[in-house]
Symmetry: D2
Subunit: 307 residues, 4 copies
């Protein structure tokens, strides 16, 4: 395993397609050379290559976790009444689908869905809600986490489209009147600082039925882990989710900071970090690593069972 990821790291280090996300000024500052691969088994063993302790913000890779938290606190039925489970065929930040048909976000892996999910975080006030949210992320990571205030402020200032989505969700009565608080919670979860080892450990926690391999503590009830993985599989890679499911076949989620993580249930979690992203918002090196790794290890969920 160590040999394989070093080989992949070496092979794709020189890949130069894509460029760091620029729509949030703070993200544009990322170093395009940064590149890390970390695998964490359900026993807590880690295999690392590259800049594995370089920090970045979760961005959309936070979405599966916050969705798991909502399921844990409200149960399936109530969560599904707010946010659907269907792929959209549209880009991650689309408003069209929301207006067109259901007046409910298609799924929790796109911005509109994650904003709606964020409105469900419990607590008496913003500080309290933020603290509850952080506890959940920390349970996945196995230790305390920080929020990048610079990224948070940068998101807050520039996220006009997300603000537009939030007001439309309010219009359709999907979220309550605390629009700014909900957006703050959403921007904060996007701004949580991790390194590739952390994200890989969080992925391994999902692979391990919700129990952190190191701390042995449960981050979310095991009965909701399948829900999270299912959504990651059908909707996690935005409008290339189908292609990902088809060619890579592993539940995964990407973020515009350049992170992608995948889960092989019962076995391990994988995280790749490399800032340059393609036009769909996925790390270009990350996509190649996942492709080759899945092929080498026969990970595709529908191909592995083939004799």
């Amino acid at each position: 395993m160590q040999t394989l990821i070093e080989l992949l790291h070496n092979k794709y280090r020189s890949l130069s397609t894509g460029k760091p996300a620029s729509y949030i000024p703070e993200l544009a500052k990322a170093n395009a050379q940064d590149f890390a691969i970390v695998i964490t088994t359900v026993n807590g063993e880690q295999f690392c290559a590259g800049d594995f302790d370089k920090q970045f913000t979760l961005q959309s890779t936070s979405k599966p976790f916050i969705y798991g938290m909502a399921l844990a606190e409200y149960g399936r039925e109530e969560v599904i009444s707010k946010v659907g489970v269907e792929p959209t065929g549209e880009a991650f930040n689309s408003i069209v689908e929301l207006e067109k048909r259901t007046h409910r976000p298609y799924n929790p892996m796109i911005n509109s869905g994650a904003i709606a999910i964020s409105s469900l975080i419990k607590g008496n006030n913003l500080k309290n809600r933020e603290s509850n949210m952080m506890s959940m992320f920390e349970a996945f990571a196995g230790h305390q986490l920080e929020i990048s205030n610079d990224v948070f402020e940068s998101e807050k200032l520039t996220a006009h489209r997300n603000r537009s989505i939030a007001h439309l969700l309010r219009h359709f009565d999907v979220i309550d009147e605390k629009i700014d608080e909900t957006l703050d919670l959403y921007f904060k979860q996007c701004s949580i600082l991790v390194d590739t080892k952390d994200l890989s450990m969080m992925a391994a926690t999902l692979a391990n039925s919700g129990v952190n391999p190191n701390t042995k503590k449960s981050a979310i009830p095991s009965k909701y882990v399948g829900d999270v993985l299912s959504l990651m599989f059908t909707c996690g890679m935005y409008d290339s989710s189908g292609e990902w499911a088809y060619s890579i076949g592993v539940p995964a989620k990407s973020g515009v900071s350049g992170a992608i993580f995948g889960v092989v249930p019962g076995e391990f979690g994988i995280a790749v970090y490399s800032p340059p992203i393609d036009e769909k918002g996925h790390s270009t090196r990350g996509v190649e690593v996942f492709k080759e790794f899945s092929h080498e290890c026969n990970l595709s969920i529908f191909r592995k069972t083939i004799i």
Copy 2:
């Protein structure tokens, strides 16, 4: 297993929601009381309940098989250049998506995609191409199959929307000039007669890496079976594919004749037949049987691995 499916058959026999498809006159003649459940293991063992030898036409349940045939004859790259692998978020007979973005059908599980795939069937003339197509379906079923001429003629007369789709595909140069022949092949595959035992055996052939459990003959190369299952999982149930993946978690395909089949790779195939369908085009009894069966047997692909 036998006990379980009899129990489910008994329980849902009285379900009265939905009604037989009416848009093709021949389908409207179906008996709303017909109801069968058949499970076929990869060893060829069959468990049957209800009207398991009542015949019906494949309709859209033919789509995964014909897709497998195209992959076998042309390989992944060429097939994907014609038809994508993304879910649409739109209804099964939508034209909108086709026009809007890619000018290529989103996936082979919707009508536009299946028509494009049908244009790829090899042969010198219609008769020859039909014979090639039938051989593939018969390899899955393990014996000779017939086409219902009444249903074929009925489809041909009334399928204005499919004809519209075919001409638009021609316009975008996805299919060649033999539009009528392509449509004939498409209508014919929809009109193939099977009973629930046949469809269950065809599903078991997919579960068995493409090898028919009875005849031991390969219907399609094993390396493409994962492709077919992946597409069934993300796109097989039209615009409720996401919900199906989430709540049932088994690759499946439904047809407006009231058939649904599912595949548990390496284990078995399931087929349910019951003509009354819901507004999405799925057999109402079929959906309930699959839901409860998946729950009882813990089949969901992302939940079964949870400890």
Copy 3:
């Protein structure tokens, strides 16, 4: 003329279709029985029937005037760079069109366009900008006007969709960062109090090349009056603009308060007020009065020239 409008008033007084707009609480309080028709000639003569001095808020009938003001202050080229002049085929409060193609509102007669136009109102601060805006409306009406604070506050609290539109306009860089100020100006123009005589006079000012028939003062330069009328004709009645142009043939604009005004250039302005509106947002009595009035007086712009 007096006879004709009294006849129409009498005839349609008992019409009971439609109901007052309910999406803003203040509007829902309107009396469904209120009904007024006023015609004002370019010489300032007025013909009145019904509750002609009952006050209501302008709502969307403000849009043509504020558009005229923007043209006067910035000229055609700059205004068109912000807001197009094409009908949409979509509802008045649609977001879809904005996202889909141009990233610029289709026209200034729908909410997104009018919000963009409102962002152009000049002034150092909100108070100053409001005062400039009011001066223009007052020049059309010929006397001082008030804003209903109750309606303004009611709009402000409930207009989540408009707030969503504003943030999307900001995202596409159509409006500047003073989003709340722009929305305040938009809500305020919607909340201007007039009676049917006022609105009719404002229409007559457009019929009179922008010069108020009473005060003889110019409200906007005559060279932009044709622009305003053209937009009213092709886009003034939302997604029934085509039908209105076809069957009534007079540039017009309606508002959800139940007001509709029309302009017969060089001759007169007409205003009808009656709160019950249809599902497109047009006063039901207003539509009937305009239909019959246009027919009786042969007003249709393309039919009047026919020998």
Copy 4:
């Protein structure tokens, strides 16, 4: 008038933007240098500049005439039940709008609407229907007209999108089962040969309340001329109809052969012919000539009344 059009002809002769339509092979053969302007007054006087007797096919400039014929034969109510009168905001050959909302073409100036209108042409068989159709066109032109068989065959072979539209119209029950006959009539009306003098005379017939200025014979009842002009004004220039209405302000219709004609009711008809077209399908020289001509002569319907 003669001086003005010669001046415009001279000025725009060297304009080199746009290129002849290429989607029908026969149209691609057009000479990009051909350029003619003809004005015909309601008294039958003609002012000509350039290649005024060079022949071309009507293409979409046939649509207003065939619509007038349908109104004459069926009356407003029945025609409107088949085809609406709303602008679409979409391209001329769009299918999206048809599927999305009304299941009825938005208006008769786009392909779907004109195909639906063509299905209404009366007659016992194709030959008879064609003959009725030609009589109407000939009444507008004032003499016999021919159909270009080469263009007709070329259209028939390549018009997959129109064929797609026709089958969708059949699906929605807008047209009857004689799909091929309807398409033949549609392709034939597009293939009628005229020169710029003919088209200008046809325009003058509309300007003259439906009576040909030369023959003094009525082509369609005067009461439907306003309907035709209204539709040309709001929908005649496809998705730039709004801009045309705004900046030129004259009812007009363009065709991909490079023809545009406009009508100034009670005064004259104008036709311009020049094959190179822009991406919206309008003759590039034609657009410029109309713009300057409208401005010079103050033709804009809403500006001419301004003092």
